[in-house]
């Protein structure tokens, strides 16, 4: 966004010591574009949101008087004669982490101005994300059919269902928003907006490949959060 005026020479000073750089003029993070800095700070704020969700989950897990259901049983799938614990969740986790890889590659190709590769990889990321949401929908359906409700469930503590729907729902919303933006950005990549610097419809700011990196930050964050949800909710 700020690289709007190509005629002015903007100098990014050399690295100084941490405190000197912070206290210097104009920019605290040298060479970091506005959008990226904003995404980072937003993600710290969002980290608080998810941490508080998880801490609340742990608190009610201790405060509830009924037994906490065993997640490996609840989230198991029957494959043939076997009951494979956490099968679906494992696949979902794998897919989401893979999508982080494709996202990272998309960023790389974006900066290399390789429009095609960048676009395909963005598309792949979006497809992975969408299939993650799809499997989550499947899991929700399965549990709802088995009688799990936000206020009660057949396996034990009522908080189990409420926490499950709330946290995965909130995370799933994040993924969905990510997918929507990925699709929009993919379209922009293929259309060449980032090469021509076409102005955004709403913001009227010029497009730039940086946007893909910012998108990537968000996407990796959503993946990372999933890892914590996986560890604390499904494995514990």
């Amino acid at each position: 966004m700020e690289e709007s005026n190509q005629n002015v020479k903007v100098v990014i000073p050399e690295k100084k010591s941490f405190s000197k750089e912070w206290a210097s003029d104009q920019k605290a993070f040298k060479g970091v574009p506005w959008g990226k800095a904003m995404m980072w700070i937003f993600l710290v704020s969002d980290t608080f949101v998810f941490s508080i969700f998880l801490i609340s989950y742990m608190t009610v897990r201790f405060s509830t008087k009924s037994e906490w259901p065993n997640p490996s049983e609840v989230f198991g799938l029957h494959v043939g004669h076997y009951n494979v614990p956490l099968l679906l969740i494992a696949i979902m986790t794998f897919i989401l982490i893979t999508s982080s890889g494709t996202m990272a590659l998309a960023v790389k190709y974006g900066y290399e101005k390789n429009r095609k590769m960048c676009g395909y990889l963005m598309l792949a990321t979006a497809v992975f994300g969408a299939s993650f949401v799809g499997m989550q929908a499947f899991e929700w359906t399965k549990l709802i059919m088995e009688g799990v409700r936000p206020w009660e469930n057949p396996f034990g503590a009522p908080q189990f269902g409420s926490i499950f729907f709330m946290i995965t729902g909130f995370h799933g919303t994040h993924v969905t928003i990510g997918v929507i933006f990925l699709v929009i950005m993919t379209r922009k990549v293929f259309r060449g907006d980032f090469d021509t610097g076409k102005r955004g419809f709403f913001t009227s700011q010029k497009s730039n490949y940086e946007a893909i990196e910012i998108m990537g930050l968000y996407w990796h964050f959503v993946d990372l959060v999933w890892v914590f949800i996986f560890a604390f909710f499904y494995l514990w």
């Binding site: 966004m1 700020e2 690289e3 709007s4 005026n5 002015v8 020479k9 903007v10 100098v11 990014i12 000073p13 912070w22 206290a23 210097s24 003029d25 104009q26 920019k27 605290a28 993070f29 040298k30 970091v32 506005w34 959008g35 800095a37 904003m38 700070i41 937003f42 710290v44 704020s45 969002d46 608080f48 949101v49 508080i52 969700f53 609340s56 608190t59 009610v60 405060s63 509830t64 008087k65 009924s66 936000p150 206020w151 503590a157 009522p158 908080q159 409420s162 709330m166 909130f170 709403f202 913001t203 009227s204 700011q205 010029k206």
Partner: protein, 596 residues
Amino acid sequence: MAADSYDDVAKNKESIPELEVAPQDLYHAKSFWTKYIFCQDAKVIGIQYALTAAAIGMVGLVSSWLMRMQIAFPGVIPMDAAAYYQLVTMHGMIMVVYLLTALFLGGFGNFLIPLMVGARDMVFPYVNMVSYWVFFIAVLILGASYFVPGGPTGAGWTLYPPQAITSGTPGGDGLGIVLMLVSLAVFVIGFTMGGLNYVITILQARTRGMTLMRMPLTIWGILTATVLALFAFPALFVAGIMMTLDNMLGTSFFMPAIVQFGERLTYDGGSPILFQHLFWFFGHPEVYIVALPAFGIVSDLISVHARKNIFGYRMMVWAIVIIGALSFIVWAHHMYVAGMNPWFGFFFATTTLIIAVPTAIKVYNWVLTLWRGNIKLTIPMLFSIAFIITFVNGGLTGLFLGNVAVDVPLSDTYFVVAHFHMVMGIAPVLVILGSIYHWFPLITGRFLNERLGRIHFWVTFIGSYSIYFPMHYLGFMGVTRRYFEVFEGDNFTYSITGINQFITVAALITGAAQFLFFYNIIVSSKFGKKAGKNPWKACSLEWQTPDVPPTHGNFGKELPVVYRWPYDFSVPGADEDYITQDTPPSAVANAKAEQT
């Protein structure tokens, strides 16, 4: 200054840092709608925030009048206990969140940040505009709760479950509480959009020469408060979501097994204390979200109107930052009587008392700035001095409440009400009022009426002291807060009634004075005395714009270059008693500025 000093700049080329922030691509409005309604100029957005906050603040003010009438003269205005609780709740929440937070960060933040750091606008003007409209929707949702069946929630501004969502509480089984929670969540979303803008503008878009340690303390206060808000509001947001689910879907996050009117509700096994922790993890930083911008702004007002540099600038900055950091680890001092583990109380009492150290440093520094200053008793200065007095008063009672053993008998009495109104009610409001008198000439190009202003000041200051000072005594007498009726004779001495009546009369007068102030604003913006450029002879950048009031883009053709801190007042050897931040050293070669 900026425009004609560019030859000097050329001569001193070595002293100007190289450009690191490319010129901003400003949005230029094309129609009436994009110019005045969906405006992307931070100054206009700031004014929109301020007006909206003031409008809903009036609802809060009138609520307080009605409450006071009920306490002192029951029956004059007919109301039942439910209505009283609704008034208490809406008054508290409106004042804390929708008035003070929105006004300081949304209002002053938007107006002052780009001007004071030398930027043309916020870094993401579009997001900034959306932020205001989301806030506006939050206010509408809050307002809607007055019109739903059952009315707004009467759970107290702390919204503690289980009572907040059970049917005995007004709005508890209707839509009242839901609308309150939804409105708060929407507020948080809107604030986050604005807050990211404020932080990034301050950190990443300052003009050349504006180092962090040359920023006015106003900016430091707003920056730290915004960071606090970005990290504290998530707790409120999540707690709001969970309580909404408890209420709408029957989950049991906060609800234990509970019997109501002899009937067992379906809730089971939730933790009401969890809500208190989440609420106060938001709530305590929140009080500093309101206090820190006030600290910053008042430092600037004192310095300008005493014609003296701020005493201990660096100390002031660090005090702000340290208070901000500490405010995240003191929250449970609001929960001493909630049945926590005693060791918790010990820990939180310690941290609470430690926070008084940087706070006291700030107070000393304000007083030392005044010390032997060339004090001009302008209206902003009067408000600033009044702020110091009330803040010290409230801070001292905070020390009482911070000790567990002292707090247990005082908790939930009027002593607490006195404490937080002194520190969070009056003190920041005095700063807001003072700073409106200070910056009004920048916004409109005219002064506010001086005589009305002085009447407003004295009535407000003496009036609010008359309201809250006697409340300490009521608290010692054991008068409980949030009681619909206070029975003299049975539990309390007879002096209670007289004091309550005195307070109510003071409250009515003080409130009325605020309407005088609104009148002053409306009339003076049209007919006030013309102010001209930099009427207070201040050094900071917002007064150095080529046009007054500043136009879109703030600084005309060239952004200013900053050579010094914003407190070069009464510098020996200088021609004037102030040197603006954008004055190059060559223009004031004889001045012996100590700090740059």
